[in-house]
């Protein structure tokens, strides 16, 4: 079953310098039990996309297009309706666990509140359930009443994951779940996320800049650049037969592949180049690329790319 589907989704902000298109004409979908990973660098709009699904963006934001959760258009949902969906049906794991947890509240209390709100549990059973979930995510039993600042970085991230799991939602959005963690801790967190997705048949929407994390977690991958999805496909397709010059460049730039740089810098969102957004950095750019933006081309049923190289 299709859980989330975005059609021609656009998200833009009003800023002093004018409209900023953080997400532009994006199509994507997540099916039940499927892991979709969005890979992107700074300013690619990946976090904005995640926050759009949760409808947690600041008030100076405007949406266009459609974004369906099951059969509900989230963009048209009222704040009240969203309140009911958030936490219960759409759960999110925020970036930066130290600041994302209330410093004046124990981690267990965080979960208890969510359980009381969405599951209508009484204090006692909510507390028991919260402890259960926390221990399940790997937090030592004697630390479940700790406050965020008392936990180590890895445990804090686990606590935040536990909070996302509290109501057993069908979909879990994880925004840079491994950012700022040491490699050994990162491995544990990635394993935990895989365990969750495998055991609980949960669909995950994961946002990351780390290709390795994406390879480990994804069923399908979407590569974002300047608010657009330049290429999307299954993990195998993306890593074994990448098509878009940007995707190829990203993989080649990875330290494990010899640090082959992509020239130039990512364009500013208010001052996007004419034509394909990637063409100023692209070795294969032609006159056509500079004139108009390529449509999406299907390479296979799952592998789609926005590049004129695919059309010719």
């Amino acid at each position: 079953m299709r859980l989330i589907e975005g059609r021609n989704l656009k998200v833009y902000f009003d800023s002093d310098a004018g409209k900023v298109h953080a997400v532009d004409n994006v199509n994507f979908h997540i099916d039940e039990g499927e892991n979709l990973v969005f890979i992107g660098e700074t300013g690619s709009g990946k976090t904005v996309l995640g926050m759009t699904i949760m409808r947690l963006l600041p008030t100076n934001v405007y949406y266009e297009g459609e974004l369906y959760f099951k059969d509900k258009n989230l963009i048209k949902a009222t704040e009240k309706e969203m309140e009911g969906l958030r936490g219960r049906e759409l759960a999110i794991i925020m970036q930066n666990p130290l600041t994302a947890l209330n410093p004046c509240m124990s981690i267990k209390k965080h979960l208890v509140q969510v359980l009381q709100k969405h599951k209508g549990m009484d204090k006692k059973s909510a507390s028991d359930r919260a402890a259960e979930i926390l221990v399940e995510t790997g937090i030592p039993e004697d630390q479940i009443d700790y406050y965020a600042h008392q936990l180590s970085g890895g445990l804090r991230q686990r606590a935040l994951i536990a909070l996302g799991l509290a109501c057993d939602s069908e979909i879990l959005i994880a925004d840079e779940p491994t950012k700022g963690l040491d490699v050994t801790v990162q491995l544990q967190v990635v394993k935990l996320l895989r365990k969750i997705s495998d055991n609980k048949k949960k669909a995950m929407f994961i946002i990351t800049h780390d290709l390795g994390v994406a390879a480990a977690l994804a069923d399908r991958i979407a590569i974002m650049y300047c608010g657009r999805i330049l290429e999307s496909g299954t993990v195998k397709e993306i890593f074994e037969s990448p098509f878009h010059p940007y995707t190829k460049g990203l993989i080649a730039a990875h330290p494990s592949r010899g640090l082959n740089p992509i020239q130039g810098y990512s364009a500013s969102l208010v001052n996007l180049p004419e034509g394909c957004v990637f063409c100023p950095r692209c070795d294969h750019a032609t006159a056509k690329c500079r004139e108009s933006e390529p449509e999406e081309f299907d390479l296979t049923e799952t592998h789609k790319v926005r590049c004129y190289l695919a059309g010719s």
Partner: protein, 303 residues
């Protein structure tokens, strides 16, 4: 965090525009901040009226004329009436503004200067110097400023100069604490460390990096405190322990007027409005300046 993403996008873009049309952007931002814009106009008008008082009244503020005692506003050609000595109230308010505003600006400037120097030195030298200065600050903080002022004026006698001194004894503390905490956080910043690794001397760092970075925040903090300086001056003068007669000052005018409160309320009302209005203008302007300034300063100076 979302804000971060949004700002991240915004700031890159804002910056390109900023460098091209810096002045016009600045002006647009200034006029867009309505509170700041309007209060600045009022403030300019106030300063103008006080500085060029003779343009607005031909009365001598200190001329005693017992035949014109206690006139009501409008009576006998007097705009706001006269006081118990027959002195023109309107003229006294205008000239009194010179004392009130002038004195408060002086106090703020002196306090800011002392505070900036002491705070920066304490933070940068650290160790014992910092410890001693902070203990002094701790001790001085024990006394509410009006009460310490009363104490000083009480011991040394009531005069404008002693009032001035008494408001400086405690006044510099806020600025010192602020510059200290600013410098402490600046010290940890990478650009200071990198200057050190480039071979910058400590003195060079203080003068080229620290003070220029601390100064704007101190300036804003000072702007926000002109209003409260006016209030302190007039409070103590009201108690009869500040500016001494016959010099016109809003607080001491109210002190004189106190005995006439039930029969001639105009003597109480007008100087009070003068104080309240000018303090309000400065307070709004202070708020506006803070909002106008960079978000960094906004975070450090709370209300």
């Amino acid at each position: 965090m979302i804000a971060q993403t949004a700002n991240g996008n915004g700031s890159v873009s804002a910056s390109t525009v900023y460098s091209e049309k810096k002045v016009s952007t600045w002006w647009r931002k200034f006029t867009k901040n309505k509170l700041l814009f309007i209060s600045s106009i009022f403030c300019a008008a106030l300063v103008f009226a006080v500085v060029f008082a003779p343009l607005f009244t031909d009365q001598d503020p200190n001329k005693v004329d017992l035949t014109k005692r206690l006139l009501q506003p409008g009576e006998d050609g007097s705009f706001l009436g006269t006081d118990g000595f027959g002195r023109d109230l309107f003229a006294r308010i205008l000239y009194g503004g010179r004392t009130s505003l002038g004195l408060s600006v002086c106090i703020v400037v002196v306090n800011a200067a002392i505070g900036l120097i002491v705070g920066t030195t304490a933070a940068f030298l650290g160790g014992i110097v910092d410890g001693i200065i902070m203990r002094i600050v701790d001790i001085l903080m024990a006394f509410p400023s009006v009460i310490l002022s009363l104490f000083i004026v009480g011991v040394f006698g009531a005069s404008t100069f002693n009032l001035f001194i008494s408001l400086i004894v405690l006044g510099w503390i806020g600025y010192a604490r602020m510059s200290r905490s600013l410098v402490l956080s600046l010290k940890e910043q990478v650009f200071i460390q990198s200057s050190r690794t480039l071979g910058c001397s400590k003195i060079r760092i203080i003068f080229t990096h620290l003070i220029p970075n601390v100064f704007p925040t101190i300036l804003i903090y000072g702007a926000m405190h002109i209003g409260s300086a006016i209030l302190s001056i007039s409070s103590i003068s009201f108690l009869g322990l500040g500016v001494q007669p016959p010099t016109a000052e809003w607080g001491s005018m109210l002190s004189d007027a106190k005995q006439y409160v039930s029969l001639y309320p105009h003597m109480v009302i007008f100087p009070g409005i003068a104080i309240a209005a000018s303090v309000l203008i400065f307070n709004i302007m202070g708020d506006g300046v803070r909002e106008f300034a960079d978000p960094h300063a906004k975070k450090i100076i709370k209300t």
